[in-house]
């Protein structure tokens, strides 16, 4: 179960209830007690309690429960309505809000609601719950005349700021550790606390306060660091025009050499990009623009003959789109011919004929970006260095951008680049694979699926999953990373649907761990050559994690061998069970529950509905253990156990008695009958049953 997802849904829901509660409570005070109003409040607290319990926020459910009780007492007239009660209820809503914040921070904030619970139980506030309000007041900085700073110094500044952000995130993890320590201390010193030791109690509350203060300071630092980081990053922004101005000259030269006429139009020159980003996309843009003139735009005669204006038009357009910048290059040339690209690619050895034929027309046009496809080398910078075309892939990967290419024969070609606003910070999806954490830039992940191995199909020798009538080829992250297939092939698999250059791929991972803002760090020299990895980051808990190169995965994805996940799953299913257990109970619910618990943990289970039935089943087959109820019609579990002990072939069969009879006398009877263990039926104690079964079988 992915908890974070449910917590998020719960928080949204709880916010509504919280608002309704606060309004309602205040209305009670203003307008007096009304049955309708009370019922509304009761329903809100009741739903809050139920939902909180379901998402395992027990403390929050507890507060809601106490609120519900208090409101019920008001309704029945057991409690007299007073403004004190209003205070208590309002403070309780604050506590709920604090617990919601705690749930969202996944334990990052420590909240103590003991006093609130006490207040709700007693109906009045013991101490003042006033809280100091600390709100920062930033005075606006005055604009100064500009100064010059070298790019190098700006880069250093940005890097340092990145480090500060990382430290701040690490502090969050430290704080969680402190809270955990505190909890450990609480549980191991519980007895001392009960002894009403005042100095110990005040020591503890000082510590809680300290942790809370630390949290507040840390958050403050975080906001400020983030703000400074943002401002520093802005210092590095350059308008697109700085790149496109260079283009115009070289494009005109190229067009003239090829005797073509081209109008080059740039829109959105003012769009600002990070300097590094600009450096990274410049070769891509130049490559695409050169291609457009070289292969896209026809010569003037051809154009006129096909009814087009004499001069071709190439448009480069940039615009902001949410947290992305979109750069589009469009030409009105002859378009890309998939057939020609196929044959050229084969001729130049980019791929073999069979693979080329298997590719769809939409996919085949992307081959123009493959190294080796084009023989022309463009001079892209002043140093005169020719840049190989694989820069398209590696640079795109470096900026965590995405690219799509569309073309229509005779009409033109359009390339769309989507770039994140910042190269250094992005939202990453954390996944676990083989015990390690990896980060995927979130914008490459279309969705995460949970699939059963039974849903995996085979198409043309590849394993695929179907999603909305489309087949998505399936790969496994652990296979790419050449990990041992440690991941257990369970009945539910987590598959990320990745999308890159308009292609999709399903990627099997062990589990997803949620989203996190990550700061990109360069890989050290030793790691530079790592395959499928584009960088690293330090996670909130201080541990490093590698950032997966989605571009690499796609580049290699086509050639992977089939996964055989389904086969492996079926093999797993047929593996020997851990043992054969006979479950005896006259209640269908109990025996089905016990059967489910045991089967989920790989035991083979046979059920019997009575003592006689059990003896029949024991005659018919061999068992490693028996679990039996006591009170059954005809023959009790004790009698059954005695009979089992008397039989030659079952003399040593371990027997567990599971019963709602909790007295020592019954336990003694069970042991006398020859049972090895006696478990009292609780509400739901699968752990105890499993532990006992495991101990007795091994």
């Amino acid at each position: 179960m992915k908890k974070s997802k449910y917590v998020d849904i719960f928080i949204r829901e709880a916010e509504e209830h919280l608002e309704a509660l606060r309004k309602g409570i205040l209305a009670l005070e203003k307008e007096g007690l009304s049955e309708a109003q009370l019922n509304e409040l009761l329903r809100s607290t009741h739903t809050l309690k139920g939902s909180a319990n379901m998402v395992d926020l027990v403390e929050l459910a507890g507060v809601a429960h106490r609120m519900e009780d208090l409101l019920k007492d008001l309704q029945s007239g057991e409690l007299e309505f007073s403004s004190d009660l209003v205070d208590v209820l309002l403070v309780a809503t604050d506590a709920v809000e604090a617990l919601m914040a705690q749930a969202q921070s996944a334990g990052g904030i420590s909240v103590n609601v003991d006093s609130v619970v006490k207040a709700l139980e007693s109906g009045n506030l013991a101490e003042d719950e006033a809280q100091a309000d600390i709100s920062p007041d930033y005075a606006g900085t005055e604009r100064r005349t500009s100064v010059r700073a070298s790019v190098e110094r700006l880069d250093q500044l940005v890097n340092r700021m990145g480090e500060i952000l990382l430290s701040q995130k690490a502090m969050g993890a430290r704080q969680q550790q402190m809270t955990k320590l505190l909890n450990q201390m609480d549980s191991s010193m519980g007895r001392l606390q009960d002894a009403d030791d005042h100095s110990l109690k005040s020591l503890r509350s000082n510590m809680v306060n300290l942790i809370n203060d630390f949290e507040r300071d840390r958050l403050q630092l975080g906001y400020q660091a983030e703000d400074v980081y943002q401002r520093t990053m802005e210092l590095r922004l350059l308008p697109l025009a700085t790149a496109t101005d260079d283009f115009e000259r070289s494009l005109r030269n190229l067009a003239r050499n090829l005797k073509k006429e081209v109008n080059f139009i740039v829109q959105g020159q003012d769009v600002e990009l990070d300097r590094n980003m600009l450096d990274a996309i410049k070769p891509i843009l130049l490559h695409v623009l050169n291609n457009a003139i070289d292969h896209g735009i026809e010569d003037p005669d051809t154009r006129v003959r096909s009814g087009k204006p004499k001069a071709g038009q190439i448009t480069l357009q940039a615009q902001y789109e949410g947290s992305f910048i979109q750069v589009t290059v469009r030409d009105d040339g002859q378009g890309l011919d998939p057939e020609k690209i196929r044959s050229t690619a084969v001729k130049r050895g980019v791929l073999d004929a069979e693979a080329a034929a298997a590719m769809s027309d939409e996919a085949v046009i992307y081959l123009v970006f493959e190294p080796g496809f084009s023989t022309r080398e463009f001079i892209t910078d002043v140093s005169g260095r020719g840049v190989g075309l694989d820069v398209v892939k590696s640079n795109l990967d470096q900026v965590k951008g995405n690219l799509s290419l569309h073309s229509e024969i005779g009409v033109g070609t359009e390339l769309v680049l989507r770039l994140p606003l910042s190269m250094a910070i992005f939202t990453g999806l954390l996944v676990e694979c083989g015990g390690e954490t990896y980060v995927f830039p979130q914008h490459y992940v279309a969705e995460a699926l949970r699939v059963s191995p039974r849903d995996i199909l085979e198409e043309m020798g590849r394993e695929v999953v179907r999603l909305r009538d489309k087949s998505i080829p399936l790969n496994s992250l652990s296979q790419f990373l050449e990990q041992e297939q440690t991941a257990q092939i369970t009945s539910r698999l987590t598959v990320l649907v990745l999308s890159f250059r308009e292609q999709t791929m399903g990627l099997l991972v062990d589990q997803t761990l949620g989203l996190q803002e990550v700061v990109v760090k360069d890989l050290g020299c030793q790691l530079k050559s790592l395959e499928y990895v584009s960088g690293s980051t330090i996670l909130g808990d201080g541990n490093p994690a590698l950032i997966v190169s989605v571009a690499d995965l796609f580049a290699a994805g086509q050639n992977r061998q089939a996964l055989q996940l389904r086969q492996n799953y079926e093999n797993e299913q047929n593996k020997a069970k851990r043992g054969r257990v006979l479950v005896v109970d006259d209640s269908i619910t109990t025996r089905t529950m016990e059967k489910n618990i045991l089967e989920t943990n790989d035991y083979e289970v046979v059920v019997a509905v009575s003592g006689f039935d059990a003896l029949d089943k024991l005659n018919a087959g061999r068992f490693d253990l028996m679990v039996s109820d006591v009170e059954m019609p005809g023959m009790t579990g004790f009698e059954l156990t005695k009979k089992v002990r008397q039989r030659e072939d079952t003399r040593d069969l371990p027997v567990i008695i599971v019963s709602s009879l909790a007295s020592d006398e019954h336990r003694r009877q069970g042991m006398n009958a020859g049972a090895q263990a006696y478990i009292v039926k609780g509400n739901f104690q699968q752990g105890v049953l499993l532990d006992t079964v495991e101990t007795l079988i091994s």
């Binding site: 179960m1 997802k5 449910y6 917590v7 849904i9 719960f10 949204r12 829901e13 329903r43 009741h46 739903t47 309690k49 139920g50 939902s51 319990n53 379901m54 998402v55 395992d56 949970r450 009945s491 539910r492 269908i588 619910t589 089905t592 529950m593 489910n596 618990i597 989920t600 739901f684 699968q686």
Partner: protein
């Protein structure tokens, strides 16, 4: 064919959790956030089982069960009530109007699995 189950609860988080649980258990789930909405679904759809909350706005669990039991589509469909209600009188009232069983929130997947197997007889 996967068995179809209708879940009725005013809490989106409860619906989300139950939907995922049922999905994992191989059932097909539909959802409604109150009794009235559920009745509308019941007019045009057939379900193998209904899981309903007790306390809900617009139409609560008891009125819903009473209404559903009179609908031709739903007369013999087993209804499981899942609620955090602790008031025994209320629970007894719910049992009177014809629910198959009462489950207390929070419910674990294995509990739900068991109850569904027992109630659906599979």
């Amino acid at each position: 064919m996967a068995k179809k189950i209708l879940i009725v609860d005013d809490s989106p988080s409860v619906l989300a959790i139950l939907e995922d649980m049922l999905d994992e258990l191989g059932y097909e789930a539909a959802t409604a956030t109150n009794g009235k909405q559920a009745c509308q679904l019941l007019e045009t759809n057939r379900y193998d089982l209904i899981i309903t909350d007790l306390t809900m706005p617009i139409m609560d669990g008891i009125v819903f069960v009473q209404t559903a039991k009179q609908m031709p589509n739903c007369k013999f469909v087993p209804i499981v009530m899942l609620s955090s209600e602790e008031d025994e009188a209320k629970i007894a009232e719910a049992k009177q109007v014809g629910i198959s069983t009462f489950l207390r929130k929070p419910v674990k997947e294995i509990q739900l699995k068991t109850i569904l197997q027992v109630v659906l007889g599979s």
